[in-house]
C-alpha cells in the first residue's frame, strides 16, 4: 500500500506512472478529481446526482483503461476532463435517442470568486437564474461557459479538452456568451 503522505505531494503525471505500476495508486488521482468532475457533469447535464455519479464512474474506468495513452504533452487535468467531456456527450446523445424524465435538481453550484463573470454579475445576479438560463442554451455553449467561468480553464486547456483549435475556443466562447445573453432576453430574466 503506497504511503499517502508521499503520494499526495506528487504531480498528477507522476501518479499516472505510479498507477501503471500499482493500481491502488490510481485512487489518489481519482480523489483529486472526483469533486471537480462531478460538479462539471452536474453543471453540464443537470442530471440527478446518482446519474452523474454513474457517468463519473465510467469516466474513471475509461481513464484507467486508457492510462497508457495519456499524452504527456498535455496536463493530466485536460486529459481527464476530455474523457469526461466525451462521456457526457456520449451519454447526452443516448438520452436524446431515448428521452427519459430527469429530475431537475439544484446543483448547488459553487462559483469561483475569481471568475470574471462572477465579478461582473456578483452584485446583481441570482445563481438560480443563471442555472436556469445555462440549462436552456445548447450543450456546446454551456460547456465552454462552464469550463471558462466555473472551472477556470484557460484557452489552451479548453482547446485540449474540447479537441478544437485554439482560435475555435474564442469563437465558441463568444457565441456562447451571445447565446446566454439572448436566452436571458427571451426568458425575460434580469440580473
Amino acid at each position: 500500500m503506497p504511503h499517502p503522505d508521499k503520494i499526495e505531494d506528487k504531480t498528477d503525471e507522476e501518479i499516472v506512472r505510479l498507477s501503471l505500476e500499482n493500481k491502488e495508486n490510481y485512487l489518489w488521482l481519482m480523489k483529486r478529481y472526483e469533486n471537480k468532475l462531478l460538479r462539471y457533469i452536474l453543471r453540464l447535464t443537470n442530471y440527478p446526482k446518482e446519474d452523474a455519479e454513474d457517468i463519473l464512474q465510467e469516466v474513471f474506468i475509461k481513464a484507467y483503461l486508457n492510462l497508457n495513452d495519456f499524452n504527456r504533452n498535455l496536463k493530466f487535468s485536460s486529459w481527464i476532463y476530455r474523457i469526461c467531456h466525451n462521456e457526457v456527450i456520449s451519454h447526452w446523445r443516448k438520452m436524446k435517442v431515448r428521452p427519459q424524465m430527469t429530475e431537475l435538481i439544484d446543483n448547488n453550484l459553487k462559483f469561483s470568486t475569481n471568475a470574471p463573470i462572477y465579478k461582473e454579475l456578483e452584485i446583481k445576479l441570482n445563481k438560480g437564474k443563471i442555472n436556469e438560463v445555462l440549462n436552456q442554451i445548447p450543450l456546446k455553449y454551456r460547456e465552454v461557459l462552464v469550463l471558462r467561468y466555473w472551472d477556470e480553464k484557460d484557452y489552451n486547456e479548453m482547446a485540449d479538452i474540447l479537441r478544437v483549435p485554439l482560435g475555435t475556443v474564442g469563437t465558441l466562447l463568444n457565441r456562447a456568451k451571445k447565446s446566454f445573453k439572448e436566452m436571458t432576453i427571451k426568458q425575460n430574466i434580469n440580473f
Binding site: Y26, L27, M30, I61, N66, D69, P165
Partner: protein
C-alpha cells in the same frame, strides 16, 4: 459510505481491469501516420502530374486558334489529378485530426500545409520524371484519359487551325517532308521561316509547326518547335525578329 473513487478501485480489482497495453495505442498512431504519409505521397504524385501537364501543354498555341483560349483551358485541365489531390488533402486533414495533437490545427491550416507539401514534393517528383510517367501510364490504362502526348497529337493534327506536327522524313533547303501521326505525308514550305538551327531539323525527328494550310497536303511554316520539352524551344522564327544565329535561347 464509499466514495466514487473507492468504488472504482474496488471494481477495478474485482473485475481485474487493467490498462490497455501501450502497443495498441502506438499501433493506432502508426496506422494514422502511415496513412497520412501514403496519402501525402499520392497527393505529391498528383501534384507532380499536374505540374507536368501544366508545363507541357502547348498553352501558347491556344492564342493562335479560332476558339477562345478559355475553352481550351477548361478542356485541357487535368481534372482527375486535381480530384486525387483534393481527396488526399481531405484524407490528410482526417488523419491529422485523429492524431494525438492534430486537433490544434484548423482545417484551413492543414489544407494549406498539405497543398504546399504536395506541391513541393510534387515538383521534386516531376524533376525525377514521375509526373510524366504517371501521365503516360494512366493514358495506357484509361483510354478516355487525355495525356500530354495524346492532347499534343490532337492539337498538332489540326492543319486547318494552323497546327501541324509529325516526324521529319525529308529535309531540303526550303522545304521539308513531314509524316503526321495519322501517317499522312505533308510538304512543308519553310522558306518564310528564318533558319536558325538547321542541325535540329533532322530526318526522324518529331517537330511541331505553326503556320497555315496552303493546299492539299501542303503547309507553310512560320514557327517550328521540337516535339518534346517543358517549354517549346523555337527552332525557326520569323525573319523579322533577326535574332543572331548563335543566340543562346535556341540551344
Amino acid at each position: 459510505m464509499k466514495s466514487i473513487s473507492e468504488k472504482v478501485v474496488k471494481k477495478i480489482k474485482e473485475e481485474k481491469i487493467n490498462p490497455l497495453p501501450k502497443w495498441q495505442f502506438l499501433l493506432k498512431d502508426y496506422v494514422i501516420w502511415t496513412a497520412a504519409v501514403i496519402s501525402g505521397l499520392i497527393g505529391s504524385l498528383a501534384a507532380a502530374t499536374i505540374i507536368h501537364v501544366v508545363l507541357n501543354r502547348d498553352w501558347f498555341v491556344y492564342l493562335s486558334t479560332h476558339r477562345p483560349p478559355w475553352q481550351h483551358l477548361i478542356f485541357d485541365l487535368p481534372y482527375i489529378w486535381f480530384a486525387v489531390l483534393l481527396i488526399t488533402i481531405l484524407i490528410a486533414d482526417y488523419n491529422v485530426k485523429h492524431s494525438k495533437s492534430g486537433y490544434r490545427y484548423s482545417f484551413y491550416y492543414i489544407v494549406a500545409l498539405s497543398l504546399v507539401f504536395s506541391l513541393a514534393i510534387g515538383a521534386l517528383f516531376n524533376i525525377g520524371g514521375l509526373g510524366e510517367r504517371a501521365d503516360s501510364t494512366l493514358a495506357k490504362e484509361i483510354s478516355a484519359y487525355r495525356s500530354v502526348e495524346k492532347r499534343a497529337i490532337e492539337l498538332w493534327t489540326e492543319p486547318e487551325e494552323g497546327h501541324l506536327g509529325g516526324e521529319v522524313t525529308k529535309v531540303s533547303e526550303k522545304s521539308l517532308e513531314l509524316q503526321d501521326p495519322s501517317g499522312k505525308t505533308w510538304e512543308v514550305d519553310i522558306s518564310k521561316a528564318h533558319l536558325l538551327a538547321m542541325s535540329q531539323i533532322k530526318v526522324g525527328k518529331r517537330i511541331k509547326i505553326i503556320g497555315r494550310l496552303i493546299g492539299e497536303n501542303k503547309f507553310e511554316a512560320e514557327d517550328i518547335y521540337p516535339w518534346i520539352g517543358p517549354r517549346p524551344r523555337r527552332i525557326f522564327i520569323h525573319q523579322e525578329s533577326m535574332l543572331p544565329e548563335n543566340s543562346s535561347m535556341f540551344k
